[in-house]
């Protein structure tokens, strides 16, 4: 849970790194721009989350699924992200299933592979 207010913001250093990788080399990003991008990304997380939970509510379900997040993109008119996100989702599912079988093999060694679920 969020204990401090900073916990509700994405770390600026990480956001800056992502942006720097995407822009041509040698582009400098002003401090205000860095703060702005990090803020924008944090607000975007909430925006997408709320769009996805709206879909869940309308379908009278409870749990949020990956497909809801994908469908939410169209609702908020970010159609341009549907394709790359769908591809990433497919990859994710593949890797997740490989890991699952890998985790079963490794169970004897007690070396458990954890998939992001911290509660």
């Amino acid at each position: 849970m969020a204990e401090k207010l900073e916990d509700l913001n994405l770390p600026m250093t990480v956001v800056t790194r992502i942006v720097k990788e995407a822009l041509p080399e040698g582009v400098s990003i002003s401090k205000e721009a860095r703060t702005g991008l990090a803020k924008a990304a944090s607000v975007f997380v909430l925006y997408v989350t709320s769009a996805a939970t709206n879909i869940v509510k309308n379908k009278k379900r409870k749990a949020l699924t990956g497909q809801d997040v994908l469908d939410a993109m169209r609702d908020i008119e970010f159609d341009r992200f549907v394709e790359p996100l769908g591809e990433a989702f497919e990859q994710y599912k593949q890797v997740a299933s490989v890991r699952k079988s890998g985790a079963n093999k490794k169970k004897e060694e007690g070396d458990e592979v954890e998939i992001v679920e911290d509660d």
């Binding site: 956001v15 582009v27 997380v45 709320s50 992001v116």
Partner: protein, 134 residues
């Protein structure tokens, strides 16, 4: 050990994204799939925003004003407008205020002009006096 591809291409901390998602009133639990996708799309989003903002930059520099410009122009970014307003310089602000004043009534401006003239003439006359005394 090599990191699996899905985690390698993710940079944003999943735990933080999860915390933000859970701060939304209707969200109770966040499974790994929606968490991954929200994180991924946030990366796509911030890259997209930065690239578009950089296009409006004439120098090799990305500044706040470039981002604010994109945000104010694109209606799908309406959710960011409050947190990313266009910023203006003091000079621009004064120009806007002057235009407003020119459109509105003039009496206030004139009276303040008069008073400043009066005080400046008083000062100069008193300065002259002291000079003469010397």
């Amino acid at each position: 050990m090599s990191t699996p591809k899905t985690e390698k291409d993710l940079h944003l901390p999943l735990s933080r994204v999860k915390t933000i998602m859970k701060s939304s009133p209707d969200v109770e639990a966040v499974g790994p799939e929606p968490l991954y996708l929200v994180t991924k799309v946030t990366e796509l989003f911030v890259i997209d925003l930065a690239k578009r903002a950089f296009k409006t930059s004439k120098a090799n520099m990305l500044e706040y004003k470039h981002i604010a410009e994109v945000v104010q122009e694109d209606d799908t970014l309406d959710f960011l407008r409050e947190i990313m307003p266009r910023k203006i310089t003091v000079r621009q602000f004064k120009e806007i205020m002057n235009k407003k004043a020119a459109k509105g009534d003039h009496s206030e401006d004139e009276s303040s002009d008069q008073s400043s003239e009066e005080s400046s003439s008083e000062e100069s006359s008193s300065a002259e006096e002291t000079n003469e005394q010397d």
